[in-house]
Structures are given as structure tokens and as C-alpha cells.
């Protein structure tokens, strides 16, 4: 209920209006004193007798004095009940302050100076302290590997380096918070992180208070000065004081100074809410259970680098590490591939005939290989490509030599002996054999050359080819006669040469030969006739050979003409030849 007594103005004048607002508790009464108002009492300025209304006015004034007497108590009781009184008076108080400042700012400034002065000093001191802490950390971190990484991060994100350092440095957790009764040192409340192991918190709390007193006494600090913090390695205890309580927070790691603000707010709130409990504290700590949520809020934790936003993986360090990883992987792949290729290349050369590898070295940029090489062997330069190498990749040094590999011996024999198409040469177990028909000169020359070839121990002449050649031929006769059939001259001529060659070959290879000239007949005649005609045909051929070649004539003992008639393997009008070697 709002009470007000407002007397605007009372002027006793014949034409004035007297307006009185009555308190609500008193029946409202409004008096209008005016000459026009028939109810206006007759007023006299000379102090003549007061009318009833003025008596009533006096009564009202007396009542307002009575209200004034009860007002403070009434206000107190109302304020205890709820905050409506505060709400109602708030605009009035605000307006009063505004008016006071407008009229004379000094009054209010002087009034609040004792509060604002220390507050400003503390704020400035904390700001400076934070700045120094930041500077120290910056200096400390500038030259470390971590610092360099942070510099990269600063460049990438565009943030100032100092800010990046601060962000990365905040790695701490508040492990325990003690609320201690300042006067007795008794622990009122204690909250911890779940994972924290603690000593007997009641004794710790008392000891902490003792240490505070000890520091205070020992160093003769001013009355309101208290121990702010204790620090042991990465563990520190930050202490905040209120008039009746101490809040001590045990922090592991490097906490930022603005954490103090959280502690300060907590202790101020607790002080405000529990002030009476502090004063009448008799050892029962249960009344402080309500402070636990506030203390729990002080168990702050910052995981620093682990707390970075997810997905932000493209940081310079990660990129660098990624690139290095890829390079390592690619390098590894090329290394292994190169190793594999080189091993295969060298292995192939080692197995290749005509090549002897004496040295093979794999270098980082260029490989080296050296050894002996037959010029008939495969050319290493040509097979480099098969193994993925360029000629620039491999330095090669091959000394020429001749390999006694049968393949190469034969190839060299073909090259140097240059046999005519009718001659076939072969090589086996150190023996080079030339078989076929060629001039005796060729054979003589071939023998000399062959023995000069590496790997050839012996040169032999092969008769098989010549024998086959001769034995495959025949001279045809007109049947029933002893006359050559048509066009036999060429065959006779060839055979003459071949027999000459055979006799030369036999002589040079110191062999004996015999040639049987077999005359044949068809079955049309009698056996006797056939025997006779076949003999005649053989004789004729022999005579022909002797006629054509003096050489054959001189070797006549090697030739024998026989008539076999129409029997045997062939029944034909022809002459065939059989060569026998001994």
C-alpha cells in the first residue's frame, strides 16, 4: 500500500483554492475555498475564529506526523515481504541520482570514491598483469618449434600472432575449489573434478588459511592484502577473498588471468547470499550446501589445442606433414620400382650369353654397369628401354671380347667363312663342320680361317650334303636304247663337277671314296637284255665322265660301272649313282 501526504500549497486568500489530498487511509476530502463556492467557509485574515474545516486540517497534519512515525517501520516490513517497494521507489531513486549529478556531480563522486577507486586500481592492475603474462608467453613461444607452427597458423588465419599464442596456450583445468570460512579456516564446501585425487580437504583448507596468515604476518603486508596465489610447477592455487570467506581454486596448467573474474564473481555472490550464515557460523557447514552450484561453475577446463574446431585440418603443419607424407610415399614407390627394374636389368645381362657383368652399382641419380661384351651379344643399350631406363640413366662401360658360346662361334664362322649357299656349316663340341658343295679353294680357305676362330678346335668337311646331292640325281636314257634322253647334258655336266669336287674333297680330307654308277632298265625286255643294256648305259656314263674330266679319269679306280637290269629299287631307263665313303 502506498502512502503519500502531499500538501501542495496553502495560501489563505479570498480567491485562492485550497486543495488537500488526504492519505488513502483517511477518508478523502477536498476542500475548495472560494468566494463562489457556497461551501466556502468564511475566512478572516486577521486571525478571527477558525472554522471547523481548519480544525480538520490541523487534525490531518497531526495524522501525517503520526504516519511519519510509523513510515520507516512500515517500509522495512514491506521490503522484507517482497520487492515491490524497491520497484516502486526505483524510478524515484534514479531520478534523484540524476538530479543530484545534474546539480553537483562532486557530491556523488565523493560519495562513491572509496568504492570506485580501489575497483579501478584493481582493474588496471589485472589488465597490466594480463598484458605482461601475454607478453611473456609470446616471447617464450616465439622461437620454439611450436611457436613457428603458430606463426604459420597466424599467417593462414590472418589473426595476430599474439592472439594465436594465447588461444593455444590456454591449456588448464580447475581441479578443486575450496570455500573456506575466513575466520576459522574451516572448510565450508569443497568441489572437485571427478578425476582428481585429493588429500584430506579439511586439513588442507586449514593449512591454506595458516599459510595465508603466515605470509601476511611474515611480510607485513597491509591489512587488506592477502595471498593471491601459490604455484608449484604446473599446479597453482588461486585465492580470492571476500570479507568472510576464502575461495581457493587448485588449477593444473596455464590458466588465463581472466579466470580470476569468474572466481571473484563466485565469491562475491556467495558473500552476498550467505553473509549472515558466515557471521553466525558455529561449525555446521550444511548451511553452505547451496553454494555448491556456484563453486561447480568454477571448475573450468580448457583443453587448448584439442579443443580446436573440428574439420579444420588444413593447417600449415598438417599440409606440410601431408605433403611430406605423400612425397615419402611417392619417393618410396619410385625407389622400390627403380630397385626392382635395376635388379631385373642386371640379372638379365648376367644371364645373357656374350656378356659378363663385372660391376653393377645403383646410384641415386645415375646407375653404373661395366663388364665384358661380345659384339654378337645383345646390346645392353637396346634393352635399357625394356626396363624403363634411358641411356642417360645408366653409365655403361663394356670391354669387347669373344665368347666361345656355340651360337656366337657359328655366327662368327658364317660371317668370316662366307660359305656359298650350297654349303651348310655347323658347330658342336669345338668342331666346325662345313657340309655341301663349294670350290676346293673355298674349303681350303675356310679351314684356315675356321681354326683362327675362338672356340673352334677342329674344322671338318661334311660329305653328307654332297652325297645326297649326287645320289638324288639320275641320267635318263631312251628306253630300249643306249642313248641319252633329251636334255641330259646339263645333268651330266653337273655330275662331272660334283665328282671332281668329291675327289678333291676326299683328297684334302684324306678320305677314300667310291662311286658306283648303276645302270637301270625297265621291265619291258628280258632280263638278259635288261642286264646288258643297263651295263651299257653305266659304262657309257662313266666313259662320258672320263671324257669330260681328266681328273676323274685319273681317279678311275674309284669309279665302278654296274648294270643292275630291271630289278632292284628302280625299274627305269636311267643311270643312278651311289657314293661310298671310307
Amino acid at each position: 500500500m502506498f502512502l503519500s501526504v502531499e500538501i501542495c500549497r496553502i495560501r489563505v486568500h479570498p480567491r485562492s483554492i485550497l486543495l488537500i489530498k488526504m492519505p488513502q487511509s483517511i477518508p478523502q476530502k477536498e476542500l475548495q475555498i472560494s468566494p463562489d463556492n457556497p461551501d466556502t467557509p468564511e475566512l478572516s485574515v486577521n486571525g478571527g475564529g477558525l472554522p471547523n474545516e481548519l480544525g480538520e486540517l490541523r487534525k490531518i497534519l497531526v495524522q501525517s506526523e503520526e504516519v511519519g512515525e510509523v513510515l520507516p517501520d512500515a517500509l522495512k516490513k514491506r521490503a522484507k515481504k517482497d520487492n515491490q517497494l524497491a520497484e516502486a521507489t526505483l524510478p524515484l531513486v534514479e531520478e534523484n541520482i540524476r538530479q543530484s549529478v545534474l546539480r553537483n556531480p562532486r557530491i556523488l563522486a565523493e560519495a562513491i570514491f572509496p568504492i570506485i577507486g580501489p575497483a579501478i586500481r584493481k582493474a588496471i592492475a589485472e589488465a597490466l598483469s594480463q598484458m605482461v603474462q601475454s607478453l611473456n608467453q609470446t616471447l617464450e613461444n616465439s622461437l620454439s618449434p611450436k611457436g613457428l607452427r603458430w606463426r604459420l597458423e597466424a599467417m593462414q588465419t590472418g589473426k595476430p600472432f599474439a592472439e594465436v599464442v594465447m588461444l593455444n596456450s590456454l591449456l588448464y583445468r580447475v581441479e578443486q575449489v575450496f570455500l573456506i570460512h575466513k575466520k576459522t579456516g574451516i572448510l565450508l564446501q569443497h568441489v572437485t573434478l571427478n578425476s582428481t585425487e585429493t588429500q584430506d580437504s579439511e586439513m588442507v583448507s586449514a593449512m591454506l588459511t595458516a599459510i595465508q596468515d603466515f605470509v601476511h604476518d611474515s611480510f607485513q603486508t597491509s591489512e587488506d592484502a592477502t595471498l593471491d596465489s601459490l604455484k608449484v610447477k604446473d599446479l597453482s592455487v588461486w585465492i580470492e577473498n571476500s570479507p568472510d570467506a576464502i575461495l581457493a581454486a587448485v588449477i593444473r596448467g596455464n590458466a588465463p588471468l581472466n579466470l580470476r573474474e569468474i572466481f571473484l564473481e563466485a565469491i562475491e555472490q556467495i558473500q552476498f547470499e550467505q553473509e549472515k550464515d558466515f557471521h553466525k557460523f558455529e561449525g555446521d557447514t550444511a548451511v553452505f550446501d547451496d553454494t555448491r552450484p556456484v563453486l561447480q561453475e568454477c571448475l573450468q577446463m580448457q583443453l587448448g589445442e584439442k579443443n580446436e574446431p573440428k574439420g579444420k585440418i588444413f593447417k600449415p603443419f598438417n599440409i606440410l606433414a601431408g605433403v611430406l607424407g605423400i612425397l615419402l610415399l611417392v619417393g618410396g614407390f619410385f625407389y622400390v620400382r627403380d630397385y626392382w627394374r635395376w635388379s631385373n636389368f642386371v640379372g638379365r645381362l648376367r644371364n645373357e650369353p656374350g656378356i659378363v657383368v663385372t660391376e653393377a652399382e645403383r646410384g641415386f641419380f645415375k646407375h653404373e654397369i661395366a663388364g665384358l661384351r661380345d659384339n654378337l651379344a645383345v646390346n645392353p643399350v637396346e634393352i635399357l628401354g625394356e626396363y624403363g631406363f634411358d641411356t642417360d640413366d645408366v653409365w655403361q662401360n663394356w670391354k669387347l671380347f669373344q665368347d666361345a658360346d656355340p651360337k656366337f662361334v657359328l655366327q662368327r664362322a658364317e660371317k668370316f667363312l662366307d660359305p656359298p649357299p650350297s654349303v651348310k656349316i655347323s658347330f658342336e663340341n669345338g668342331v666346325l663342320t662345313a657340309d655341301g658343295t663349294a670350290s676346293a679353294e673355298w674349303f681350303t680357305e675356310a679351314k684356315k680361317l675356321a681354326l683362327a676362330l675362338v672356340g673352334v678346335n677342329e674344322f671338318r668337311i661334311g660329305f653328307a650334303g654332297l652325297k645326297n646331292e649326287i645320289e638324288s640325281k639320275k641320267i635318263a636314257f631312251n628306253c630300249g636304247t643306249n642313248d641319252f634322253a633329251e636334255n641330259q647334258e646339263k645333268a651330266v655336266s653337273e655330275l662331272t663337277s660334283e665328282f671332281e669336287f668329291l675327289s678333291d674333297l676326299a683328297r684334302s680330307s684324306q678320305k677314300n671314296f667310291r662311286v658306283e654308277i648303276e645302270g637301270h632298265a625297265d621291265e619291258s625286255g628280258t632280263d638278259a637284255a635288261n642286264a646288258q643294256i643297263s651295263q651299257a648305259r653305266a659304262d657309257k656314263i662313266l666313259a662320258e665322265f672320263f671324257a669330260k674330266s681328266e681328273k676323274l679319269k685319273q681317279n678311275n679306280q674309284n669309279f665302278k660301272a654296274v648294270g643292275v637290269g630291271a630289278g632292284g629299287n628302280a625299274s627305269e631307263c636311267a643311270v643312278r649313282f651311289r657314293v661310298l665313303l671310307e
Partner: protein, 169 residues
């Protein structure tokens, strides 16, 4: 939940305060705290009626010529022991000065005087008459022995009861 109370152990140097509590209390601090910061905190749980009382024992460094008790350590105490060594008369004198100092600094509080080393009968320097005189002051006293543990538990119990009754005599 037990109520918490701060109790001080006072007395001259070497009267056996620390020995007196060593066997009867929980402790996490070593005795070097006496010489460093002048106090060591221990804890003792006693039950008075249905009330559990957690006594936080501020075992203060013994007072002598060179070291005076820090008044700050007395602040907030609910009761205190004064320990006297029966074999050293000067500790008896110190007890009086300590008691006066406490009253001056923190006012009247319940307390008990413990006459320790009661086992060393032959070496007593404090005469029975002096003890009787002290009784006239109204001081409550116990003869204890830290060595045998004689009446130590009882002393704690007594002090707790006096403290809850706020019996300052």
C-alpha cells in the same frame, strides 16, 4: 554431518604437544611445518552425545624466548589446549602467559590444561601445591602421558564437551 571446529594446541617448546596428538589424530603434514610456517594441522573426530565434532587441531609451534605464537593462528578457534611439561617448571609459567595472551587476542574460550609427561614421576618440577593453586583459578586440568597415551582421548572428549557448552571456565 559432523560440525567442524578449530582447536589450538598451545604451550612452551618441547612440552610434547606434537607427541600428544601424534597417536590420536589423522595427519597428512610432517612436523617440519612447525619450523617453517609455525603450525601443523591435524584432525580428530569426537562424538559428544549425538553430535559428531570434527576437531581441526592447529598444532602451533611451541612458544619460547625466540618464538612467539602468531595471534593470527588463534583467530576463529573454538577452544584450545595449553600443554605443560611436568618436568620443566618454566613451561608452567609460560602456560599462564599464553592463557592471558589468548584472552587478550581472541577473548574467552573454553580450554584445558594438559600436564604432560605424567610418566616421568621422578623428574617432576611442578609441585602438587602449585597444581592445587591452579585449580583454584578454576582451570580444568588433566595429567596426561603421550608415551602411554594416558587420558589423552579423554582430554579431547572433555574439551569438545566444554566447547559445545561454551564453558570457558
Amino acid at each position: 554431518m559432523a560440525i567442524q571446529k578449530k582447536i589450538c594446541m598451545l604451550g612452551a617448546t618441547g612440552v610434547g604437544k606434537t607427541s600428544l596428538v601424534r597417536r590420536f589424530v589423522q595427519s597428512i603434514y610432517s612436523e617440519k611445518y612447525h619450523t617453517t610456517i609455525g603450525v601443523k594441522i591435524d584432525k580428530k573426530l569426537v562424538t559428544v552425545g549425538e553430535t559428531e565434532v570434527n576437531l581441526l587441531l592447529w598444532d602451533l609451534q611451541g612458544e619460547d624466548e625466540t618464538f612467539k605464537i602468531r595471534p593470527a593462528f588463534l583467530r576463529g578457534a573454538s577452544a584450545y589446549f595449553i600443554v605443560v611439561d611436568l618436568t620443566r617448571h618454566e613451561t608452567f609459567v609460560t602456560a599462564f602467559s599464553i592463557q592471558q595472551m589468548v584472552e587478550r587476542e581472541v577473548g574467552q574460550l573454553p580450554f584445558l590444561v594438559l600436564f604432560n609427561k605424567n610418566d616421568l614421576t621422578e623428574q617432576f618440577e611442578i609441585l602438587p601445591e602449585e597444581l592445587e593453586q591452579m585449580m583454584k583459578y578454576g582451570w580444568k586440568m588433566f595429567r596426561t602421558s603421550a608415551k602411554s597415551g594416558e587420558r589423552v582421548e579423554e582430554a579431547f572428549q572433555q574439551l569438545a564437551e566444554k566447547m559445545l557448552k561454551k564453558d570457558c571456565a
